[in-house]
């Protein structure tokens, strides 16, 4: 069979074999990955979606550090029971600024895509300190040490400017005030808090999240992040049919 003869040539030439392997394995991404970057299939931002504030970003990085994604997903599927349990299915636009995405792949614990606002700050804090004190059947580990660790905000501007380089719309103003904004978000009714709202919008939770106003702790950061999740888009107003990129995707 002549195909076998041609293959024999390949088996006698290591370089040719290598090249052909590279060609063959490189086909798929042209169909599955490249189109995701084209304008027609690019996700357009939905109103309300904004970059994370410095405190929320700190919280997100704690979420990543502690491996929360290994037990919790953040992606609600358009399935009836799921939407009923967790809220509106997740939009692509809602994770547009997530470097990397946090959709998760396992629900040892519940999905957190719209956990923002579901529980009070006090509940979140107590639950993170000792999950079983509120939910006896829970198998989640304790994270009490977060109450003791102060946030190190010294490099905050570097985080924002790096993300800005990657396309997240952090303005110069936001980057310059990154350090201040960390403290602003735990001081409601302060001038700094007003400046924070001016920079990021009305939809910023400002509160003494962990109940301890002596310092900004990692607990503050993580709770600030959790309380934001899923709250950016106003689903009372949201109409999928009005999105520009609807149809065909």
């Amino acid at each position: 069979m002549s195909i076998l003869n041609k293959h024999d040539k390949l088996e006698r030439n290591g370089f040719l074999l290598l090249i052909l392997i590279i060609v063959v394995v490189s086909v798929a991404h042209m169909f599955e990955i490249v189109p995701l970057f084209r304008k027609e299939t690019t996700i357009e931002p939905v109103e309300g979606v904004r970059p994370y504030t410095p405190l929320e970003l700190t919280g997100k990085n704690i979420y990543i550090r502690e491996g929360c994604y290994t037990c919790h997903s953040q992606q609600i599927r358009p399935l009836r029971d799921e939407v009923e349990r967790y809220g509106h299915y997740s939009l692509a636009a809602e994770s547009i600024y997530d470097h990397p995405f946090q959709w998760g792949s396992k629900r040892t614990g519940p999905d957190l895509a719209r956990v923002g606002g579901k529980y009070s700050n006090e509940w979140q804090v107590q639950h993170l300190i000792a999950p079983r004190s509120l939910v006896p059947e829970s198998i989640m580990p304790n994270y009490s040490f977060l109450m003791d660790k102060e946030v190190d905000a010294g490099e905050m501007h570097k985080h924002l400017s790096t993300l800005a380089k990657l396309g997240v719309p952090y303005s110069e103003d936001m980057i310059e005030n990154a350090y201040k904004d960390v403290f602003a978000q735990v001081n409601p009714d302060s001038e700094a808090a007003e400046a924070l709202i001016e920079r990021y919008g009305e939809n910023v939770n400002i509160a003494n999240f962990d109940g301890d106003n002596q310092k900004v702790t990692e607990m503050d950061a993580l709770v600030a992040y959790l309380q934001l999740l899923g709250t950016m888009v106003n689903f009372e107003d949201f109409k999928p049919e009005l999105l520009e990129n609807q149809g065909g995707s």
């Binding site: 392997i21 991404h29 990955i33 349990r85 959709w103 792949s105 198998i139 994270y143």
Partner: protein, 482 residues
């Protein structure tokens, strides 16, 4: 067997890799057992360093990259030398790949405990570890290609096609998925270049093909050498090896989206992923068939040789997992299975049943040859086989039951039309299966410890008289010159 006109093979490096494989295997299985029991008994979480979230990537990296990686590098060096009838190109560069690769593992693993992670599954190491790995991997590709180039045997044996595909494709995947911008040169923290939907697609393009090329193509390379050698039979079909090789490496690369069914990934991508995943069943079973049918005329050897049994059971689990995978890639099935323990069951039937078992078989074949010692005890090999297989079956059954149960409970409605179960009620229902799964994993670990003992005694030169296994014990050792 080294005759007077065969080259002096570099087996020293293979020995190092073999020991490293066993060491990391025990480490990885041990962490696996710990995290399994943490899910059953959360008090076993010790904050801040030893919580499930920080330990899980330690387990996955240890078993895939440390155990699996050392097994692949070591056996690929052994196989490429012998099938090319030439010694390894550059002893110093190959030595660098051993120390460099294991250094990567140590810095990645230590990092996780301290919270240094990119949170991308099976790509958790941060940018500086990724950079180092790139350097080591380029060295590995060079050693492998140059060894092929200086071959005395004009024809490149099939095992090497698979090893080569594994090496180059892993490089492509690593580079594509790993691009990240550190916040500064002295920080461990970086932000991956991709975001949102694109980052999801690229991550699962990477991770599924880590399975396809690291855990499948690489180990098929291993299988294609060690099964015919142990069975003393040629590979069943040359034509089949060609057809399934090219179709496997082509189709695998499309399967990624089946990890993202019903997410915000566009529908067309999900459909492509599903369709190609289903097609993937064929080339996968091509590999299974080719391996198993190599025993034609030698099936009786299974009665007498537990090492060959490891290899054939590995191929059976490979077949099972590569049927289950396409099944779970169907959107309707996936709507139930996604996020549940069924995925975990699937992973472990492939990882323990296929990857680990073919590695054990290859090592039991290799170690007597490398150290020129008769294997200490074939009865212990058989004991390992039974305990580990029972462990795997307990593990996967527990996860099938808990996974499907979870999926069904999450979507259950009562007669009034309300959701029947709160989330925590489903967690409660999982508990006995978490315990069972831990027991399954523990059995698997015990089997591996038996292997370590057996290997230790073998290297020391101790022998046992086991008349029922005399042939198998001598087959692995007879003819190797001092």
């Amino acid at each position: 067997m080294q005759t007077s006109d065969s080259p002096i093979y570099n087996d020293k490096i293979v020995k190092y890799f073999a020991i490293a494989t066993l060491f990391w295997g025990i480490a990885g299985f041990l962490v696996g057992v710990l995290i399994a029991f943490q899910m059953a008994f959360p008090i076993l979480n010790l904050e801040p360093y030893l919580t499930f979230g920080r330990l899980r990537p330690l387990h996955t990296s240890a078993v895939i990259f440390a155990f699996g990686g050392n097994a692949l590098l070591g056996t690929s060096y052994y196989v490429v030398q012998r099938t090319c009838r030439t010694t390894l190109w550059s002893p110093s560069l190959s030595s660098f790949t051993f120390w460099g690769y294991n250094f990567f593992i140590v810095i990645a693993g230590l990092g996780y405990l301290f919270g240094v992670t990119q949170s991308k599954e099976y790509a958790e190491p941060e940018w500086y570890a990724d950079l180092w790995l790139t350097i080591v991997w380029v060295a590995y590709l060079i050693v492998f290609m140059m060894t092929l180039r200086q071959r005395k045997e004009p024809h490149i044996y099939v095992a090497n096609w698979f090893y080569l595909a594994f090496i180059i494709t892993v490089a492509i995947l690593h580079l594509g998925n790993g691009v990240a911008l550190p916040i500064d040169l002295f920080s461990t923290k970086s932000y991956p270049v991709w975001a949102g939907v694109q980052s999801a697609m690229i991550q699962w393009w990477y991770a599924h093909n880590a399975v396809g090329f690291f855990l499948t193509a690489g180990f098929l390379g291993m299988m294609y050498y060690f099964v015919p050698k142990r069975a003393e039979r040629p590979v069943y079909s040359y034509r089949l090896s060609i057809v399934h090789f090219w179709s496997l490496i082509f189709i695998y690369m499309w399967a990624g989206p089946h990890h993202l069914h019903y997410t915000a990934l566009p529908d067309w991508a999900q459909t492509l992923g599903m369709t190609f995943s289903i097609m993937l069943w064929m080339p996968s079973w091509g590999g299974m068939i080719n391996g198993m049918m190599t025993l034609s005329g030698a099936w009786h050897k299974l009665r007498e040789d537990p090492v060959l049994r490891f290899m054939i059971i590995a191929l059976s689990f490979y077949g099972m997992s590569t049927f289950e995978g396409p099944l779970m890639s169907i959107k309707t099935v996936n709507a139930l299975s996604h996020y549940t323990d069924w995925t975990i069951g699937h992973v472990h039937s492939g990882a323990l049943g296929w990857v680990a078992f073919i590695t054990f078989g290859a090592l039991y074949y290799l170690i007597p040859r490398l150290w020129n010692q008769r294997l200490f005890s074939m009865r212990l090999v058989n004991m390992h086989l039974w305990i580990a297989t029972i462990g795997i079956v307990v593990y996967i059954c527990a996860m099938w039951i808990s996974g499907i149960m979870q999926g069904l409970m999450w979507r259950d409605y009562d007669e009034m039309g309300f959701l029947q179960y709160s989330f925590v009620e489903t967690v409660q229902a999982m508990h006995p299966f978490y315990v069972l799964r831990g027991i399954g994993g523990l059995l698997f670990l015990i089997g591996a410890l038996i292997m370590v003992y057996n290997v230790y005694m073998t290297i020391k030169g101790v022998r046992r008289d086991e008349p029922e296994y005399e042939a198998a014990l001598n087959a692995g050792w007879k003819g190797v010159t001092a």
